[in-house]
Symmetry: C2
Subunit: 192 residues, 2 copies
DNA sequence: TGCATGTATATCGGTTCGATATATTTTAAC
DNA sequence: GTTAAAATATATCGAACCGATATACATGCA
């Protein structure tokens, strides 16, 4: 999925500005499985407007910089539909500096490894808390219930995966720390 | 982690050519949490050699193109160690076209959603089988036991996460399919 | 024989990221 | 009450990165 398609997807949830789209990928509903930076979003929106897939109305607000609100056109909906159904999706791409570091645990100090693992556990915990909070709020206030069935299912997927990751790290925290410091990075021990 | 650091990490497991490094990120030990393309690897290795972090010996083979085998220098080991311990690692980045598609399940056909979900279940199953096969082989033949303790822990992490992902999709397959086709992409239903 | 797959290096265009610039308002702290 | 920080908002630029492709020979297998 390129940035243009990703922007169409964001706009399928309702009209939005470039800034608001960015937030959807930072904090919002797409945060855990898609990303887009300003440097990609703004040119993408310009291109989409040129191609007639979105319209742009400029809201000249007092007390704020101008806000350009984008909205899907019928042609934009078609385009999104095509993109979603075009082919069996490619494999997920995961980049985890944490796992890269932990892969080399033996070459590193136990206290450093402890910090990395603990930071990651905290991170997962805060994500899980955030998701749970979201679920609870929707249960309490049906008015706030904006997520569709499939959006809840996707969120449930994320929850299940983060839960597994969290639990595994908690269970194996001490094993990681025990593995640390068993080798030095002077290369003399490298297997060849 | 930039491509240079990633290449240093790959070479920490032993000397290798650019092609072999690529394979480590496609199939091998790093496959599930790091990526690097040829277009990044070859320039990175050239740069690393210029900076004295790796050495390169050209193996002129008969019956094969020349093979450039790279190996870490002591300075390269230092550099890798610095990179691993420099700061608390940034957040994981996940891009999943599958989840992006499933997020919009309501707008799509049930049979298409079934194909996407089933393909993903198969995919997870084959990954899990591969990991299990790897674990079994190491248990049977201690000679093949090349993974260190932390490398096994990282693999265990992957296994736990993929298992959770697989199980969730199996459990919720029918719910996804039931959610499909509830809306059309003509935009008239979009909440604004 | 022919064709796909595997081994191996390399490059090029296009996409994307990350940081930064600019400017104003709201919130928080002291 | 003032000042600092964070949020709102658009935009750009260089560096990094990906994906596809070119080249070339070997191997396997139908």
């Amino acid at each position: 999925m390129d940035t243009k398609t990703i922007c169409l997807g964001a706009l399928a949830l309702g009209e939005a500005s470039g800034y608001e789209i960015r937030k959807m990928f930072e904090d919002g509903p797409f945060a855990h499985f898609a990303q887009a930076a300003y440097g990609s979003i703004y040119p993408a929106l310009t291109k989409l407007a040129e191609d007639g897939l979105v319209t742009c109305k400029s809201e000249t607000q007092e007390k704020r910089p101008d806000k350009k609100v984008y909205r899907l056109t019928p042609s934009g909906w078609d385009h999104l539909e095509q993109a979603l159904q075009s082919k069996i999706p490619s494999e997920d791409k995961v980049r985890s500096d944490t796992l890269f570091i932990l892969f080399f645990t033996e070459w590193q100090r136990p206290d450093w490894i402890a910090r990395v693992v603990d930071a990651r556990i905290d991170h997962y915990r805060s994500i899980l808390d955030g998701m749970q909070h979201c679920i609870d709020r929707e249960a309490a206030e049906p008015a706030h219930n904006c997520a569709s069935a499939s959006q809840k299912l996707v969120r449930g997927f994320g929850h299940a995966v983060y839960r597994a990751a969290h639990d595994y790290l908690v269970e194996n925290r001490d094993a990681f720390i025990a593995a640390a410091g068993q080798r030095r990075t002077d290369g003399r021990e490298a297997a060849e």
